[in-house]
Amino acid sequence: MTAVSGSPRSSRLRRTRVAQALDNRGTLIATLLVPVLIFFVLFNTIPTLWLLGLSFYNYSLTSGSPPSFVGFRNFIQIFNNRNNIWADLSRTFTFVVFGVGIQTVLGLALGFLFWGSKEMPGRRVALTMLFTPMVLTPVATGTFFRFIYDPDFGVLNVILHGLFSTRPINFLSEPGTAFWAVLAVDCWMWTPFMILMALAALGSVPKAELEAAEVDRLPWRKRLTLVIWHHGKFILMLGILLRTIDSFKTLDLIIPLTKGGPGQETRLVAMEVNKQAFESFNMGWSSAYSVLLLLISIAMTSVFIFILNLRRRRGA
């Protein structure tokens, strides 16, 4: 006799079989992971592999000719400094180091301030206001900072003129100031994130240990190294890592501010990839460039993780 599918008995059997399968820990974990894995493969692994493949081709969307395999030619061009991209890379590193550095220092300073002033009236309002830059669209931020920096009617020049009687400065168009003007906006936008991470890091320090340090009369330096740093370092380093990766890809802020100008002064790596891929439609070359940036990002992340584990191993 054959099993009649759809009969109550067989469906009940099937359900118990599913339940039994889910009882198995391995099966359960696999079942829960499958949707994520599908998503990950579809939107992450396949595009990355596609990108990797494309980097070995000469493929221009506008020429109409089919992609042609060129081996390592794209990479060789990059190493031969096509479009002066080594300057972009070194400028981006400067941007990351100064930007993340300033944001970390300011974030920590303000984080300590807010951490130490839990009784201060208006603290909550101040914190909320402080976090607004982070939630604004970078394009909007860039646009209104362009107005602030404007040499003719920008408020910054008005203030500077009023205070120091300076002549109007065209912050975004002068080679000496453009880069730092953009960096300042980046800091304005992302310092709140580092405050948040600093507060989270400080929040992870057990209250009893801080009180014990107070009772034991430890000087501030010792409290920082023995108690606060030990508990807070992981979250803080995570914040720095996230900010580094993000800062390395800065694009949306620069487009409304300077579009990379004047000349090449504010052109970061992401600007060039964006221009080659979506303005010149030079897909092969921009893919090769992206692969290089991906490798750099992975390298930076690995270094961070290595440092974190190193400290933990020694601290244990």
Partner: protein, 354 residues
């Protein structure tokens, strides 16, 4: 010189009053336990002594020194917290040495000597080089005890140090604390909600309830002559019996009294009071005795060391009685109780009369 004087201290958190207009003096070199149920203000009082909280009003003095406005680090107290604190990047010996290093007048040799001595007392010699990961919570707390004591500050505070310690490590920890406490001449304030701990460790116990000190006395006085019904109920396992009684014509009569008691002079001549007597001060017999009253054995449970805890009922009044060995009657049977006269205390409106 290191007596602690709490002078009219009140502490409010918003609308909640944790400590209410408190006056108490912890004598120099004594071990005082603050004992009471959760939320009675004992931890708040201790934290105010440490300087981790500041009183809303009133003064705190160490000897003649008014420390009310001083921050913790300026008060020079040692403290052991509920949560075992051990600095994670330092070894056991380094942890104990850390507060000593803040004292510049102490030579390195003297410091090492004190650390070694402390490790000895705590029975942790072989753990001197261990780190936090290698120790259980009891040993971590011992390190915290060592750190607080080795400094030889005048005052040491313990904030429920055994609460967050695993059960099997607890006994060892209490033994270590007891050893340490007996050896030092520091003034010690020890907060606990565990009466056994308080009874074993304290020279004097301050029983607290609702932000007030109900009674501050030697453990045996506190146990045998509680000033309030709450004290009698809270201490002992189980607590004191409170049997309704009436006063009439200078005589007290109650269901557990075979013949009326003469009422002390300070009692009102008329009215309802309560008789307090601990379950262990009532003897149980199977036959009538001089001065015995007859009741029904309603319930029995086996207690510690062959003792039984029973409930004897007199109509609508129940009395708890502790017996050495099995009760002389089965449940439902008749028993004869003799309360020991000298152990009877009298209460009205929750407070002791005599």
């Amino acid at each position: 010189m290191a007596e602690i004087n709490i002078d009219g201290v009140t502490k409010r958190f918003g609308t909640f009053t944790a400590v209410q207009d408190m006056d108490i003096r912890f004598a120099d070199g004594e071990v005082a336990c603050l004992l009471g149920p959760s939320g009675c203000g004992k931890t708040t009082l201790m934290r105010m002594i440490a300087g981790l909280e500041h009183p809303t009003s009133g003064r705190i003095l160490f000897g003649d020194r008014d420390v009310t406005a001083l921050p913790t680090h300026a008060r020079n107290v040692g403290m052991v917290f509920q949560y075992p604190v051990m600095y994670p990047t330092l070894s056991v010996a380094e942890n104990i040495a850390l507060p000593l290093k803040q004292d510049r007048s102490l030579s390195a040799a003297e410091r090492d000597l004190r650390v070694a001595e402390m490790l000895d007392v705590l029975d942790m010699r072989e753990h001197g080089g261990s780190f936090i990961d290698e120790l259980d919570s009891g040993n971590r707390q011992k390190v915290a005890v060592g750190r607080a004591i080795a400094r030889r500050s005048d005052i040491v505070l313990f904030d429920e140090p055994t609460t967050n310690v695993e059960v099997n490590a607890k006994l060892q920890l209490i033994r270590a604390i007891k050893t340490v406490i007996q050896r030092t001449r520091q003034t010690i304030v020890y907060v606990t909600h565990d009466q056994t701990e308080a009874m074993t460790l304290a020279d004097r116990i301050a029983l607290m309830y609702g932000g007030k000190i109900i009674q501050y006395d030697r453990p045996d006085v506190l146990y045998n002559q509680p000033l309030t019904e709450f004290g009698g109920w809270f201490l002992g396992n189980p607590g004191m019996n409170f049997v309704p009684a009436t006063v009439a014509n200078g005589q007290i009569s109650a269901p557990i009294l075979a013949e009326p008691l003469p009422a002390p002079a300070n009692l009102p001549s008329q009215g309802a009071i309560k008789i307090g007597i601990r379950p262990e001060w009532i003897a149980m017999h199977d036959t009538p005795q001089p001065g015995s009253v007859e009741g029904t054995l309603a319930d029995q449970t086996v207690g510690i060391a062959g003792r039984y805890l029973t409930r004897v009922s007199f109509g609508d009044v129940d009395v708890k009685v502790k017996t050495d060995g099995r009760p002389p009657a089965p449940i439902g049977g008749r028993v004869h109780l003799v309360p020991r006269r000298g152990r009877i205390t009298l209460y009205a409106d929750g407070n002791r009369l005599a």
